[in-house]
């Protein structure tokens, strides 16, 4: 979405984890995702607000430490700043880290950008014995400073009224900046001052408009000014905060007493595993099923029964009644009964995210992840993948290394997302009863193991990571607020509702039609001659080795490609029951049902569900974030792995691995390896040409043409 030209723009900027999104939410009454982690916001968010008769467009940006960007999401924020220099900027500063926070503020002032400083988190700062003299700070900075709690701040004139002040910095006011700015201005290059400073700081001249002589002149005349600018900026900051911000000698922001437990090299793993087990146990067994049962009763009494009575009253058509009963309520609506379990899962994820514990885990696991070519930051994306793989994929942007980002994005779908949760719950619960906790835990674990093995393979082949790509600022541990937990439950319930009433609902209706009508469009009422069954039956021959030689099961897997929740809708339609837990669980155990499972086929089915593509929206995000080639590679790997591992699982479960099976497995692996080799070779070649970067006579990429001879 582009920013409209007519309305005033208010852009919120600042370092990571200073409370920008919290402020954005307070000022615009929005509910964007926040968290106690460096880099929760990876894209810009916008919201129109009418205040005192005027229309404003508020923009939230990802955090950045400096205008010399380092990570991908920082580039998004930089672009927003440079393209809207005349906007109203609100610069959020966490007073606890003010010295570092002001660095980018000074860089913005160098470019003549005006802003107000919003000082956040001062309660915590002063509670720890530190002192802040806001009047003195404001006077020395010569920028309006507003003391505010980002959670409670309301929009007022003072916040958005910017005072324009001209600053002159001695270290910038030199002939080098002026001369290079002039050269760039002569070539009408945008942002001449920013680019002149950038050239001096980074010795990077990437402008095709400059002549060889000008490049030669700049390179020979001016050398690296970075250290000079760095010291100039920090000296300036120190001169401002020396007597306005008094920090205790032993004060360390981010340190917690709980760190003795969370950062203990033995106890951290025990604590982490116990927490994961407890979360799953509560979600699937202790509280989840009880909530689900009562929620389903509520849906039945409040919605299903009144609507079906009305339909019966209005029409006597059996097809219309069946459409509402089976197509809309049984298959689509009943999936809503899993809402409490999904909310519980998100609740645990939000506790991890909001408390600051994730940073501790990222630090402790970094060593192990480093061994497989990932880094601590991958922990955040992957843990969020247990909630929703699609939104989690976006968070991989906070990595500075593109290969690490691609790898993390490709591996996140192997984490069992919340959409797979109802499938596990019903199928494993029905077939394995009390032992299903081990099956479900096993599936979660299998996903992680597969991701680790793939990470190693990627690291050794096409996606070698930078080994030093881990820099993480530690946030303090904090008590998650009930308000935030309630908000999170509401937010995810809302998203689940939207998903149910958009994709799930409409596709469920299509599935019902396809599974109740044949190719001549005659109503066949769950007949084996339906369109969907016919397609599924043709494909089912491929799945015979997996023990899934049933057209309806294949149909369920096919629609599961669109969204995993649809698997249960599809099974419910095939079995002619409601897609709530009890009805489905009973139906899949009956051998007379259209879809039924043995222990072996259930395991094979669940392994396939875990490993193949999570949903279409995940593919769309992957395509946008990492490109078509890697997305295609990812999908091919997902299907191959799903097939092979489901096959092995089935054979082990039926205890009948023959020599023929081994030969088949070897042949399949050989085909996969050969295909992967070809794809990897193609990607490697392409990547080399695109990213070669060393343009001096390499003649292998288009960058060479950008420098005039």
């Amino acid at each position: 979405m582009h920013i409209g030209e007519s309305m005033k723009k208010v852009i919120i900027v600042g370092n990571p984890n200073t409370g920008k999104t919290t402020l954005f939410n307070s000022l615009t009454k929005s509910q964007e995702h926040t968290g106690n982690w460096h880099g929760v916001t990876v894209n810009t968010f916008e919201k129109k607000v009418i205040f005192e008769g005027e229309e404003y467009l508020f923009v939230d940006t990802p955090g950045l430490y400096s205008l010399n960007t380092y990570t991908l999401e920082e580039k998004v924020a930089l672009e927003m700043i440079l393209q809207n220099k005349d906007a109203i900027f609100l610069y959020v500063v966490d007073i606890n880290t003010i010295r570092r926070n002001l660095y980018m503020a000074i860089q913005m002032k160098e470019l003549g950008i005006n802003f107000n400083i919003i000082i956040n988190n001062s309660d915590y700062f002063e509670k720890k014995g530190n002192k802040l003299n806001i009047a003195k700070l404001q006077k020395k900075l010569n920028i309006k400073c507003i003391l505010a709690d980002a959670k409670k701040t309301k929009l007022n004139q003072s916040i958005i009224k910017i005072e324009k002040n001209i600053f002159e910095f001695d270290y910038i006011k030199n002939s080098a900046v002026a001369e290079i700015t002039k050269i760039l201005e002569n070539h009408q290059i945008s942002e001449p001052l920013y680019n002149a400073i950038n050239i001096l700081e980074n010795e990077n001249i990437l402008f095709e408009d400059l002549t060889q002589n000008e490049i030669f002149f700049i390179k020979n005349q001016y050398h690296n000014y970075f250290q000079q600018f760095l010291q100039g900026r920090y000296s300036y900051i120190d001169s401002i905060i020396t007597d306005s911000v008094m920090v205790g000698d032993n004060y360390v922001y981010g340190q917690s007493k709980l760190d003795k437990l969370f950062l203990n090299k033995y106890l951290f793993l025990v604590f982490f595993m116990a927490m994961v087990f407890l979360s799953l146990y509560i979600t699937f067994f202790l509280i989840g099923p009880i909530l689900t049962k009562y929620f389903l009763l509520l849906i039945n009494f409040a919605i299903r029964m009144p609507v079906l009575s009305l339909v019966k009253y209005l029409t006597s058509s059996q097809i219309v009644y069946a459409f509402f009963d089976e197509g809309i309520f049984s298959a689509g609506f009943s999936i809503l009964s899993f809402l409490p379990q999904i909310c519980l899962l998100y609740l645990f994820l939000s506790l991890l995210e909001d408390s600051g514990y994730l940073s501790r885990i990222a630090f402790m696991l970094d060593d192990f992840l480093y061994k497989v070519g990932l880094n601590g930051k991958s922990v955040y994306t992957m843990l969020m993948g247990f909630g929703c793989a699609t939104t989690a994929t976006l968070t991989a942007k906070n990595m500075s290394d593109k290969n690490a980002q691609i790898k993390t994005a490709l591996l996140t779908p192997y984490m069992s997302c919340s959409a797979k949760l109802p499938v596990y719950s019903v199928i494993a619960g029905a077939v394995f009863g009390a032992k299903s906790i081990f099956v479900i835990m096993g599936l979660y674990l299998l996903g992680i193991v597969v991701a680790i093995i793939l990470a190693i393979i990627f690291e050794k082949t096409i996606l070698k990571s930078k080994k030093d790509d881990f820099l993480l600022e530690f946030p303090p541990m904090r008590k998650p607020s009930i308000k935030r937990i309630a908000f999170l439950a509401y937010f995810n319930a809302k998203q689940f509702f939207v998903r149910i009433f958009s994709v799930i609902f409409s596709v469920t209706v299509i599935i019902w039609i396809l599974s109740n009508f044949n190719f001549t469009l005659t109503y066949v009422a769950n007949g084996n001659n339906s369109i969907l069954y016919s397609i599924g039956k043709v494909l089912s021959y491929i799945f015979v080795p997996l023990g899934l030689n049933n057209g309806n099961i294949i149909t369920a897997l096919m629609v599961g490609f669109v969204a995993k929740e649809l698997i249960l809708s599809s099974i419910a339609i095939s079995n002619g029951v409601s897609s709530n837990y009890q009805s489905l669980a009973n139906s899949v155990l009956l051998t007379t049902s259209a879809v039924c499972f043995t222990k072996a086929s259930a395991l094979s089915f669940l392994v396939f569900c875990l490993l193949y593509t999570p949903c279409v929206s995940n593919l769309a995000v992957l395509n946008k974030e990492i490109g078509k080639k890697y997305t295609t590679l990812g999908v091919v790997i997902q299907f191959c792995l799903a097939y092979v591992l489901a096959f092995i699982t089935y054979r082990i479960a039926v205890q009948s691995i023959s020599i023929g099976d081994f030969v088949l497995i070897i042949v399949i692996f050989a085909i996969i390896l050969y295909s992967a080799k070809i794809i990897i070779k193609k990607i490697k070649n392409k990547t080399f040409f695109l990213n070669c970067g060393l343009c001096n006579n390499c003649k292998k990429c288009n960058n060479c043409k950008n420098i005039k001879n």
Partner: protein, 76 residues
Amino acid sequence: MKKTLDELKINASAIIIDVVIEDHKLQKRINELGFFAGEKVKILKKSTLKKTLLVEIMHSIFAIKKNIAHCILVNQ
């Protein structure tokens, strides 16, 4: 005594003398975060395999890789 940051023991403090990292972009980011000559730095914790360090700098905590810490020269 001159040392590299990764050589410091847990809870040891030192003053940064110089930062020399091959990757200039990373060096600049490290500098901008507060790791530059004259700044006080303290090792708070080392990770399980000692490949990552928790470092106190500018009254806040950063997790950095050992090989980055190895490029930071300090005076203890």
